[in-house]
Amino acid sequence: MNSIKMASTSSVRPIRSAQRILDFLNHFSRDKFATAALVIFSALVLSSVFADLVAPHDPLKQDLLNRLKPPVWVEGGSWTYVLGTDLLGRDILSRCIHGGRMSLGIGAAVIAMGGVFGSLMGLLSGYLGGRFDAILMRYIDFQISIPYFLLALTIMAAIGPGTLNLIIVLSIGSWPLFARYARSIMMSLRNQVFIEAARVAGGKEVAIMTRHVLPNILSPLITLTTLELSRIVLTEASLSYLGMGVRPPTPAWGLMVQEAHDYLMIANWAVTTPGVFIMITTLSINIFATRLRISTDPLQRGKH
């Protein structure tokens, strides 16, 4: 009798979470800032995915006759190179679009590796508890207390710059955060009634995890993921700028800033433009993440 009652509680759950998603979308779409941020970020993602179609020029094609052309709104600029050209006469707009593919691609790869691995470790750690949990948490405490940038820089210097190395180093720096976060959510969820109910109703462990636990951790995980993406984009840009990230001539925002650095005084657009792209990316991500947290946490709503 008791278990029947509890099982019915668990089957009620999906309906409620569907309702919650609707509530959330309803609230979120009314938030102009968040919507704008999401639209801008989506545009960046789409232009990165379809960079070959969107970019007006080949990002690698040099046109030495048209070196350091200013953007269209500055005297001497033309519509051929809307945002101007760099030292080698390459189209800055096209390089920025392809640079976005690089930066966001690296970000996506890092989150795919570090995020998925970290989340799984965290969920497992929270679910299993015991010694596995203790050791993992010790290690994570340790790694998180290390100032990451310096270590990333020295490791990149040792193993040499390059996209794959960059992704590996950034993933190693990224997974503990996901693990810790996923674990904390797992811990708070594992004792909740509906999971107990599902277990009593005879649910398999894996099924319990995927059907009942995952939906509940999704929205905080999205917040963490987006914030982490912004951090990865910034770190990648810094490393590339210091020559320890993406290798030239591949277009990447940080690298573009570095390449144009010495010509700052005569061709500031070559520095400004890729920087603005980074800024728009991180800004839209941060606005989106902040607003998302407000939308998904009803207690936060009153505060804003």
Binding site: H27, P298, R301, G302
Partner: protein, 360 residues
């Protein structure tokens, strides 16, 4: 203390020859906005506190009893809370329209509060001594040394052993009951005229509860203070209050001298509350009778009596008309359309039911 003829509260007109109440709440309305919904926490509450009396406000959680008293001192968080209407008269002033600086001079000095959870109501990183002396320095312009001396006296007054050592300690070093005594010492430090006690014993053990009640009762007499005691537990009220206000759904549904309320309740909800009080005199096996149904949803404002869906005496008139407080002949007032005869029968009936239950 019984004053059977006088029933000034709620009517708005002053009763014959009564001295002016110390504190008058008139038609208080408080709302909370959470997301898109608005909760009407207090709906037109009026009450009077007489000089020297202990007035109990009784109701289940969500009845608006705490919110209304927090509103008196402007202590509800705004937003999300909002006082949409009403007056609180004290000393010829309307506290609700007082500039915040003026109101602060009344808080703590004239009207003090103690709260439900002594564990979290004290600042954990400030010595309890400092939490008393800051009041004395603020309101009574005492010098630090003077304030310390007085604070130790106050700790002694609320019967905290070894007060001069305790003065320099932090709240984690105190037990729950001791913390509540500290709260009382803080609240009484400036000899307030009114003490509002917001469920101060709810979080405590029964034996400690009685001690706290005793401390407050003694000090009330000693300091010539009036007390408003908020509780959900009529059992606590019995030996404590001169008058009782029963709140339901943000309104006062019955106001009566406590003896009248206990022996001649005039509102079906009061009857229900009385039945849910465990009595020490009765055998342990006695079954308590819970009020059936759920507390009202205050997010929608509806016509009609808020208690209607749970009421044994509900009739058609209750559905669409809101009953007003009116004198019921017993000296008290109740907001109910049912005839006194029906109410009396309900009282007897439920008493019989309780007897049956205990007989089993």
């Amino acid at each position: 203390m019984a004053e059977p003829e006088i029933s000034s509260a709620g009517s708005g007109s002053e009763a014959n020859g009564a001295e002016r109440p110390l504190l008058s709440v008139r038609d208080l309305n408080v709302e909370f906005t959470v997301g898109e919904s608005t909760v009407h926490a207090v709906n037109g509450l009026s009450l009077d506190l007489r000089k020297g009396e202990t007035l109990a406000i009784v109701g289940e959680s969500g009845s608006g009893k705490s919110v209304s008293m927090l509103s008196v001192l402007g202590l509800i968080p705004q937003p999300p809370g909002k006082i949409t209407n009403g007056h609180v008269f004290y000393d010829d002033k309307d506290l609700l329209s007082l500039p915040s600086g003026e109101l602060r001079k009344i808080r703590g000095k004239e009207i003090s509060m103690i709260f439900q959870d002594p564990m979290t109501s004290l600042n954990p990183t400030m010595t309890i001594g400092r939490q008393i002396t800051e009041m004395l320095e603020l309101h009574l312009d005492m010098k630090p040394s003077q304030a310390k001396e007085r604070a130790i006296e106050l700790l002694d007054l609320v019967e905290i052993p070894d007060p001069s050592t305790r003065f320099g300690q932090y709240s984690i070093e105190f037990s729950g009951g001791m913390r509540q005594r500290v709260m009382i010492a803080i609240a009484l430090s400036c000899n307030p005229k009114i003490l509002i006690a917001d469920e101060p014993t709810t979080a405590l053990d029964v034996t400690i509860q009685m001690q706290i009640i005793q401390v407050v009762n003694e000090l009330r007499a000693e300091m010539d203070m009036s007390v408003i005691w908020i509780t959900h537990d009529l059992g606590v009220v019995a030996g404590l209050a001169d008058r009782v206000i029963v709140m339901y759904g943000g309104r006062a549904v019955e106001i009566a001298d406590s003896e009248d309320l206990f022996y001649r309740p005039q509102h079906p909800y009061s009857i229900g509350l009385l039945n849910s009080v465990p009595s020490i005199a009765e055998p342990v096996s006695e079954r308590l009778i819970a009020i059936e149904g759920l507390p009202p949803d205050l997010s929608e404002r509806r016509d009609g009596c808020a208690f209607y869906p749970r009421c044994a005496l509900a009739s058609d008139i209750c559905k669409n008309n809101t009953p007003r407080l009116e004198a019921k002949g017993t000296g008290g007032q109740a907001a109910c359309f049912a005839s006194p005869g029906d109410v009396a029968r309900l009282t007897e009936g439920s008493a019989a039911q309780q007897d049956n239950a205990s007989a089993q």
